[in-house]
């Protein structure tokens, strides 16, 4: 991607500490306080340490690393669900996507109601939802079941509908956490084609995935995280090779 494309995600020196609190009641906190605040009510751990990176419009970026390396935390910082302890995250345009498939779906509502609700959660306006509704249903291949309650859906239908809403929300920055494994082979292929289409139209894509083959196909850039630090940042092919060689060694 050209250096001239505008930066859509700018991350400057962010750090994030998690406090694992052991207490959930005022009583325990009060006793701790009265005893002269001895000991620590909590344990801490660093999820991200001094991470800096820029992502430009039209880039397809994969965040790689083992479990607990901070990938999902970084994605949550880009989406705004979390805010950093230090440093800043800034984004340009609307950021949306699937941090988890079907977050915000309610099993007792019909497919139609869920599409409206979920699309509005992802930041679409009423007019946009109405305009894209047919296309969402068609892409998800739900057909006549759209007015059935979602709890009667097969898990495949559920995932297809959730993914379809997300790809139609048309944000400037699209975040995807480990969902490219959705559905069967043909649907997965369709999803990848749709994603490619969005990227060609100038959308920025940030993916978290453990599926290295898929990452190499979809993403041009890879960022490897380890213990909350950026270990390697470069073309996805190189980063995936590097990760594989480390696993073997």
């Amino acid at each position: 991607m050209s250096e001239l494309s505008p930066v859509t995600v700018e991350i400057k020196g962010i750090s994030k500490q998690f406090v694992l609190r052991h207490t959930r009641s005022i009583k325990e906190a009060l006793i701790w306080f009265l005893k002269g605040r001895k000991g620590d009510l909590s344990a801490r751990f660093h999820a991200l340490r001094d991470v800096s990176l820029d992502i430009r419009q039209g880039e397809t970026v994969a965040l790689l690393g083992f479990n607990g390396s901070g990938k999902s935390t970084l994605l949550k910082h880009i989406s705004g669900v979390m805010t950093p302890d230090e440093g800043t995250v800034r984004t340009r345009g609307r950021v949306a996507g699937l941090i988890e498939v079907g977050a915000g779906f309610h099993p007792d509502l019909s497919g139609r109601d869920n599409v409206y609700l979920n699309a509005a959660i992802l930041g679409m306006s009423e007019a946009q939802i109405k305009e894209r509704f047919d296309s969402i249903v068609e892409f998800a291949e739900i057909g006549e079941f759209i007015d059935t309650e979602v709890r009667f859906y097969s898990s495949g239908m559920y995932l297809r509908l959730a993914f379809s809403v997300a790809v139609h929300s048309d944000p400037e920055v699209f975040l995807v956490d480990e969902i490219l494994a959705v559905g069967d082979e043909p649907f997965q292929k369709k999803c990848l084609e749709k994603i490619q289409e969005l990227v060609d139209a100038g959308q920025t894509l940030v993916v978290v995935s453990h599926d290295l083959d898929l990452v190499q196909r979809v993403c041009s850039r890879g960022i490897l995280l380890e213990h909350g630090r950026v270990l390697k940042d470069g073309p996805s092919h190189d980063v995936v090779e590097f990760l594989r060689s480390r696993t073997k060694g």
């Binding site: 998690f18 989406s79 669900v81 805010t83 941090i99 007792d108 509005a120």
Partner: protein, 289 residues
């Protein structure tokens, strides 16, 4: 492609509080509609239940309290007196109870997707307002059957009473829902507070009895509770013209000149405090839930 350059870089996750709720009002509408739909799923009578339950309650009050207990002798048309206070307290209780739990209850969504989190407590209050409406209809029927004569000031009092409690519910809802993320004691505290709320306002008894026992100063303290003023405004709006000779006792002196402005100021202050606390605490919702 370059048009994107015109949009500025902004920090995600930094909202503007209740202003964002207004901006995302379509989502608010869908969230409220969802709750209302889910409430009566799988029931044959559906929304009719919202009318049947308060209607039965009213009839029970009328017969048991008014006729059997003879409370009509002390307070004219006691059933309407009691019911007009109770519908307002019901609204407040339901709104605050649900609002206080709303953030923890919606944690699945809050941890995954960024959206103005104020939406959840505010939606709870709207849902309760929707449930309040059928009770109001039953109340109005009861009023009309017992000789109610609406006046412009009375109707204004009704709206004002509702507004005061709605503001108070949103303010306290914001406060307790955000504290509840850190200390789950919060929702228990709210339940206890709501249990007391019915009794520290003249729902069952009359304000005059309080004034008699407490004297002017403590009665002033009693009156600074916005819930009390809300209930009195409802009595003025719905009961006073049905009560015959007791109408003079409907409202304490200076209800409109002094106590309504006090209630509005107190509620607005609670709202501001709730919003302030919520914004301080919401930064860490995703990791604490």
């Amino acid at each position: 492609m370059t048009s994107l350059l015109d949009t500025p870089l902004v920090r995600p996750g930094i909202g503007q509080g209740l202003k964002d709720v207004f901006r995302r009002r379509y989502l608010l509408k869908l969230l409220v509609r969802k709750e209302i739909k889910l409430r009566y799923r799988g029931s044959v009578l559906g929304v009719i239940w919202s009318y049947v339950k308060p209607a039965i309650q009213f009839v029970v009050f009328y017969i048991a309290m008014g006729v059997f207990l003879g409370l009509n002798k002390n307070v004219g048309n006691y059933a309407v007196y009691l019911f007009s206070g109770i519908v307002l307290i019901n609204f407040f209780t339901e709104a605050l109870n649900n609002a206080a739990k709303s953030i923890v209850y919606n944690s699945g969504l809050i941890k995954k997707i960024f959206l103005p989190r104020e939406l959840f407590p505010v939606a709870s209050v709207f849902v309760s307002a929707a449930h309040f409406f059928p009770q109001l209809v039953v109340l109005l029927i009861g009023c009309l059957l017992t000789g109610w004569q609406p006046t412009p000031l009375g109707i204004l009092a009704g709206f004002a009473g509702f507004l005061v409690l709605a503001m108070l519910s949103v303010g306290l809802g914001l406060f307790f829902s955000s504290v509840n993320v850190y200390f789950r004691d919060s929702e228990n505290f709210v339940e206890m507070m709501l249990m007391v709320a019915t009794w520290v306002s003249p729902v069952m008894y009359q304000w005059g009895m309080v004034h008699e026992r407490l004297g002017d100063f403590w009665f002033g303290v009693y009156q600074s509770n916005p819930v009390t003023v809300g209930v009195e405004l409802f009595h003025y709006a719905f009961w006073s013209s049905t009560a015959g000779g007791d109408a003079a006792l409907a409202a304490p002196p200076q209800l409109f000149e002094l106590w309504l402005p006090v209630a509005l100021v107190v509620s607005a202050a609670v709202l501001a405090l709730g919003q302030f606390t919520f914004r301080k605490l919401e930064v860490k919702f995703a990791q604490e839930l």
